[in-house]
C-alpha cells in the first residue's frame, strides 16, 4: 500500500476541505447578514471587529454558553443526534466535488477534489436527500406541534423538489455522457452547461433553493406560522449546529451549481494555459457568485404559500423538466 498516495493525501485533503467548509459556513452567516443589510439600505453587523468580521466567533461563543434545554417529552437520543445528522450530511456532500485540476504539490500529483468516483452525480443526489433526515428527525423528536409541522413540510418539499432536480440533471448527463463530476467539468471547457441548458439551470436553481429550505421556499421554518418550524425547540449549540448546517449547505449547494452548470474550475477554452491553481480561484469566484445570488433572491422575493409552492412543483416544474429532457434527448440523438 502506498501510504502517501492512498492515505495521507486524501486525509489532508479531507481535513482541509472540512475546515474550509466550516469557516465558509460560519462566514456565510456574516456574509448573508451583511449583504441582506445592504439590500435593505443598512450596514449590518459592524461592531465585532472591523466590518463585523468577528461576528461569527461572537455568535459561536454565545451559542456555546447558552443553557442546554431538552424538552421533557422529547425523544432525547434522536433530539440530540438530529442536528448532527443534518450537519454531517452537508459535509460529506462535498466529497465528490472537484475544486481544481490535477496539480503537482510538494512533489506529489494531487487531484483537487476528495473522491473522483464515477457515480459522483448519483452520490450528490443521494447525500442531498440524506440531509432531510436531520430535519425530519429533529422535528419529530422535539414532540411539539410546530416542529412536527415544520418537519412534515420539509419532508414533502424535499421529496417533491428532488424530482425536477433529478430530471434537470438527467438532461445534463445525456449531453456530458458521464456521471463523474470531473468529466462533467472537463466537458464544459468550451461552453458551460448554463448556456447549453438554460431551462435546466433555472429548474435546478429553483429546486436547490427548495431543497436547502432557503427563502422564498423556507416553508419548514416559516416564523409567522410555525414559530421556527423544526428548530422551534432547539437552543444553544444544537440550534447553532442546525444553523451552521443550513449555511454550510448553502456553500455546498453553490459549489454544486458552480460545478454542474457554471463550468467549475475550468477556464474558457481560449485562455487555457494558466496555472492550474488559478482554476481554484475561478471555482471560488463562481461559488461566491451563486451565494450572492442566494442572498439576493432572499432579499427580493416573498415567501410562497404552501399549496402554491406544491402546485408549482408538480404542475409546472416537473412537466417543464420532462419537456426539457425530451428535447435534449432528441437533440443529442440527432446531433
Amino acid at each position: 500500500m502506498d501510504w502517501v498516495a492512498d492515505f495521507w493525501i486524501p486525509l489532508i485533503k479531507a481535513v482541509v476541505v472540512v475546515l474550509a467548509l466550516l469557516v465558509g459556513g460560519a462566514y456565510m452567516t456574516w456574509g448573508e447578514r451583511k449583504i441582506c443589510a445592504r439590500f435593505q439600505v443598512r450596514y449590518g453587523p459592524n461592531r465585532a471587529g472591523p466590518f463585523g468580521i468577528l461576528q461569527p466567533l461572537a455568535d459561536a461563543v454565545k451559542a456555546i454558553f447558552k443553557e442546554e434545554i431538552i424538552p421533557l417529552q422529547a425523544d432525547k437520543v434522536i433530539y440530540v443526534m438530529a442536528p448532527g445528522i443534518s450537519f454531517a450530511a452537508v459535509l460529506i456532500t462535498f466529497a465528490v466535488i472537484p475544486f481544481g485540476p490535477d496539480v503537482k504539490l510538494f512533489g506529489e500529483q494531487v487531484g483537487l477534489g476528495i473522491g473522483a468516483i464515477d457515480v459522483g452525480l448519483l452520490y450528490l443526489l443521494a447525500i442531498a436527500a440524506l440531509g432531510g433526515y436531520g430535519i425530519v428527525l429533529g422535528g419529530w423528536s422535539s414532540n411539539s406541534k410546530y416542529s412536527l409541522l415544520g418537519a412534515l413540510r420539509a419532508a414533502a418539499q424535499m421529496i417533491s423538489y428532488e424530482l425536477p432536480m433529478g430530471l434537470a440533471l438527467i438532461s445534463l448527463v445525456l449531453i456530458a455522457g458521464s456521471l463523474n463530476l470531473h468529466q462533467i467539468v472537463e466537458f464544459q471547457g468550451n461552453w458551460p452547461f448554463v448556456v447549453m441548458q438554460p431551462v435546466g439551470f433555472l429548474l435546478f436553481l429553483i429546486a436547490i433553493l427548495a431543497e436547502s429550505n432557503r427563502s422564498p421556499f423556507d416553508l419548514p421554518e416559516t416564523e409567522n406560522e410555525l414559530v421556527s418550524g423544526f428548530m422551534t425547540e432547539y437552543g444553544g449549540i444544537k440550534f447553532a449546529l442546525y444553523f451552521i448546517a443550513e449555511y454550510t449547505a448553502m456553500v455546498v449547494n453553490s459549489a454544486i451549481v458552480a460545478t454542474l452548470f457554471l463550468g467549475g474550475w475550468k477556464w474558457p477554452a481560449f485562455i487555457s494555459d494558466l496555472h492550474p491553481l488559478l482554476g481554484v480561484g475561478l471555482f471560488l469566484a463562481k461559488v461566491l457568485f451563486v451565494l450572492f445570488l442566494y442572498v439576493w433572491i432572499r432579499a427580493s422575493l416573498p415567501r410562497v404559500r404552501y399549496d402554491k409552492f406544491m402546485r408549482f412543483c408538480w404542475k409546472f416544474m416537473v412537466p417543464l423538466a420532462l419537456v426539457n429532457l425530451a428535447v435534449t434527448a432528441v437533440v443529442v440523438t440527432v446531433v
Binding site: 445592504r38 439590500f39 439600505v41
Partner: protein
Amino acid sequence: MLRDSVVGFWQILRAMGLTLKYFFTKPVTVQYPEEPVKLYPRFRGRHQLLRYEQGPYEGLERCIGCALCAAYCPTQCIYVQAGENKEGVQRSPGERYAEIYEINLLRCMFCGYCEEACPTGAIVMRREFALADYNREILIYTQDRLLQPAKPHIILLDDQAMTSDKSARGARTKMEHAKATKGK
C-alpha cells in the same frame, strides 16, 4: 399558463433589479455614538430649567415656583415645592422660587405642555434624548440636574430644513408630494 409564466418570470427579474438598485445605495443608518443625529429644531427632548442670562436679573433662576407646569402636566410627572425668597439669598426675581423641582422622566411623555404653561419661560425642552439608565431613581431629575444644559451629539437642522432639505429624513416637499400623487 405560458403567458403567466413569462409574465411571472419578468416580474421576478424586475423585482430583483429593484433590490439590486438599493444594494448600491448608501445605507441610511446613522452610526449614532460616532456620528451625530440630525434633529429638527422643534424636537422635544429632556427638560432644562433656565436662568436669566442678561438684564437686571442676570444669573437668577427663571422659575418662580408657581407650579403651573405641574398643574398642566397630563401625566403629573412634575413636582414643585415653592420657597420664599429672603433678603440676601435671592434665587429668583419676585417673592418665590422653586425649593424642590423634580421631573419623573419615566412618566413624562414629552408633550411640551409644561413649556407652554410656564409664565416666565423657565422650563424648556431641549434636544437631549439618550436618557436610558440603570436605575429608576436616576431618572427622577432633580432641580440641580435640570439646571445643567446637556450636550447631545446632534446636528440641529434649521427651520428651513423642515420643508426644503431633502436629506432630512421624513421630510417631503410639497412639490415632491404633488409629483408622487400626480399620476393617481
